[in-house]
Symmetry: C2
Amino acid sequence: MCPAGSTSNGKRRPQVSSWSVARLAGVSQSTVSRVFTPGASVSLAVREKVLAAADQLKYRPNALPAILQTGRSGLVAVVMGGFYNPVYAGILHGITAALKERRLEAVLVDAGSDENLGDRVDDLSRYRIDGAISVLAVGSAKVAARLDQLGIPVVAVNSRPFGTLRVVSTSNRTIGRDAADALVDRGCTQLAYLAGRDNPSQRERESGFSKRVVARGLPTPQRAVAGFTYEEGYAAMVQLLASGARPDGLFCVNDLVAIGALDAIRTVPGLRVPEDIQVIGCDDIPMAAWQQNRLTTFAQDMTLLGRQCVEMLGNDPPASSVSVPSTLVLRATTRTLLQTPQQMQSKAPAAQ
Amino acid sequence: MCPAGSTSNGKRRPQVSSWSVARLAGVSQSTVSRVFTPGASVSLAVREKVLAAADQLKYRPNALPAILQTGRSGLVAVVMGGFYNPVYAGILHGITAALKERRLEAVLVDAGSDENLGDRVDDLSRYRIDGAISVLAVGSAKVAARLDQLGIPVVAVNSRPFGTLRVVSTSNRTIGRDAADALVDRGCTQLAYLAGRDNPSQRERESGFSKRVVARGLPTPQRAVAGFTYEEGYAAMVQLLASGARPDGLFCVNDLVAIGALDAIRTVPGLRVPEDIQVIGCDDIPMAAWQQNRLTTFAQDMTLLGRQCVEMLGNDPPASSVSVPSTLVLRATTRTLLQTPQQMQSKAPAAQ
DNA sequence: TTGTAGGCGTTATCAA
DNA sequence: TTGATAACGCCTACAA
C-alpha cells in the first residue's frame, strides 16, 4: 500500500510525495493525484482534506513521473544565436511571455551558429522536450533533416521551409519593397544597400528592395556587405564613402548596421542626413528612437512574433508558415513626403 | 525480464529504451545503463557491442527516470527581470556558456519583478531543478525566505545577503568611488549623480560616489532620480538642466541613463562634453563605444560574472558572496588627466 | 467518488 | 564484470 522510500531515505534531499500527503489526509495516493489534476472529480470534503495535508507538508507535485508516463514534459527548447542584437531581446521576451500563458517552460540554448543547433536540441531530447523554437534561422537542409528526425515540432524564425520545419517570418520582402518606395517617393535616385551576411531574411530584404528600385525606373542599388553589427555597418559605410560613392538613399539590413552607417556618414564634413542622404533601417530597436539617431525604420511586433512561434508549435495539423506584419516608422533620417502622385505609384504590383 | 511497454505501446511517440538496446546487444538492461554512465566498469567488448546496438537503434538515454532516481535534474532556473538593458544580454550569455561547460541546462524565467520570482521558481521545483540563478536582484527578505525553503542553492546578482542566498556582485562601491576620483582628478568641482530606482547596487554606487566626493573636500553631489533606461536618463537630465543646475561632472547609475543624459545635454546650445561637463556611465554596454557617445564608463566582464554565478551554485559548502572587478574605460566624455598629485590622492582610504 | 494495481525507463543494490 | 530486482513518484486503467 505504501512504498518504502516514499517517506525519506536519508541519502537524497527528502521530497514530500503524494504518498505522504495521502497518509496524512487518510486517503489513497490516487485521490491525492486527482486533487492535483485539473478537472478530475473529487468531492469537496476530500479535496479540502487533501489540500490541507499538502499545505501542511509543503507538498510540491513532482512533474517527472508524470512526464515519464505521458511523454509530455512541458519543456520547450528556445534556441538563440547570441544576444548581441537588441531585437533578440524583444523576441525572447515575446516567446517567454507566450510560453508562460500556456504553462510551458523555456529551456534556453545559446547555439552561436546553426551548426550546433542540431547537437544541442538532440542533447535536450533526453528531457523529452515537447518542441523547439529557433530564433536562429535554420540555414542548411542537413540541420533541418536532423531536427526532423527528433519527431517533435520545430519552429524556426526566418528560415526556409525545409521538411516539416514550421516557419515564422518577418515580412522581409515587403519591407524591402516599402523601403525602396519610401526612399524613391522622397526623391532619392542613387540608392545603396548595406547587406548582412547571407541568410534568408537578408536575401529577401535585399531582393525586395533592389527589384522595386529597378521597377521604379532607377539603376540597381549599389551594394556593400556589412554584417549585422554596428561596427560592421560603420566600417562598410566608411569604405563605401571612401570609394567615392555618394548615394542619396540608403537602406540597411538592420538598425544596428544603419546606426553604424549614420555614424560613418557623420565623419564626412558637409554630408547631411537627410538632406544629402536618407537612411532607413529595419527592426525598430530602442536605440533607433534615441535622439542621436532618430532613425526611420520598420517596426515589427516582437511580442506578436514570439506568440506566433509558440502558437505554431501547438498547431495540429502543423501550419507550415506565417509572417508578421511590419510598419514603417518615420523619423528624422528621411525627409517629409510631399509628392502624392508617386505615393500612388507605390501601390503598383511588384516586379516579381 | 523485459517489461511489456519497452518496445512501443502505440499510444505515445515510441521511444527507444535501454531495454531494446539490451535485447539487440544480447546483454542486460543494467549493462546498457552502465555503458552510458561515465566511469562505470564495463568490459571493452561489451561496451562496443552495446554502443553499436544503441547507434543502430538511435538510442537516446531518457533523463527523466534518472532524475527520479537520483534527484538531480541538471536543470537550473535562470531568472531575468527583463531584457531591456543590453548588459543583461552579456550576463545571460556568460551564464549559458558556463552552464554548458558543466552540462547543465538553463530554464529561462522572465520574472519582470522580484515579486514573481518566488512563485516562478517554486513552480519550477516540480521539475526538481538543481538550483536557481537570479540576474534580478532579490530585494525583499520575504522573497529570500521563500527561496530558502526550496532547499536548493540560489545565487542572486547584486542582492543583499539574505539567509542562505549566495550573492555575486559587481564592485559597486568601488565603482562609485573610482567615478568620484576620476571626475575630481579631472578638475570637476560640481558633481551630480543620476540615480536608478532603489536597489542594492544603485545604492552602493551612489553611496560610494557621494562619500568619496565629500572626502575629496567637495560638496555633496546633486542628485536626480532617473531609473534605468535611456528615456529616464534623458528626462531626468532635461529636468536637472531646466532647474538651472550646471554640474561639471556627472556620474550615472548605468550606461543607458548616461547616454540619455548625453542626448539631453546636447539639446542645450553651448554646453559641451567634456569641456563643460564630463560624464561617466557604468556597464560598458556596446552602445557606450559608439562614435556618437564614446562614453567613459566602467567595464565589467559579464562572461566572468556568469561563470561566477554558476560556480557559486556548485560550491559546497556554500560560499556566501563574491564580487567581480571592473575597469574604468576612458573615452571622450571625460577630459585627459594631467595632474599627478591628485591621482595619488585617489589612493587614499575611503571615508567609510 | 474512491481505491487498487500496473507501468513508465532509468539508477542503485546486491548477488553471482 | 555482469545480471536480477527493487525503488523513484506519478498517471491511467479498472474495480468497488
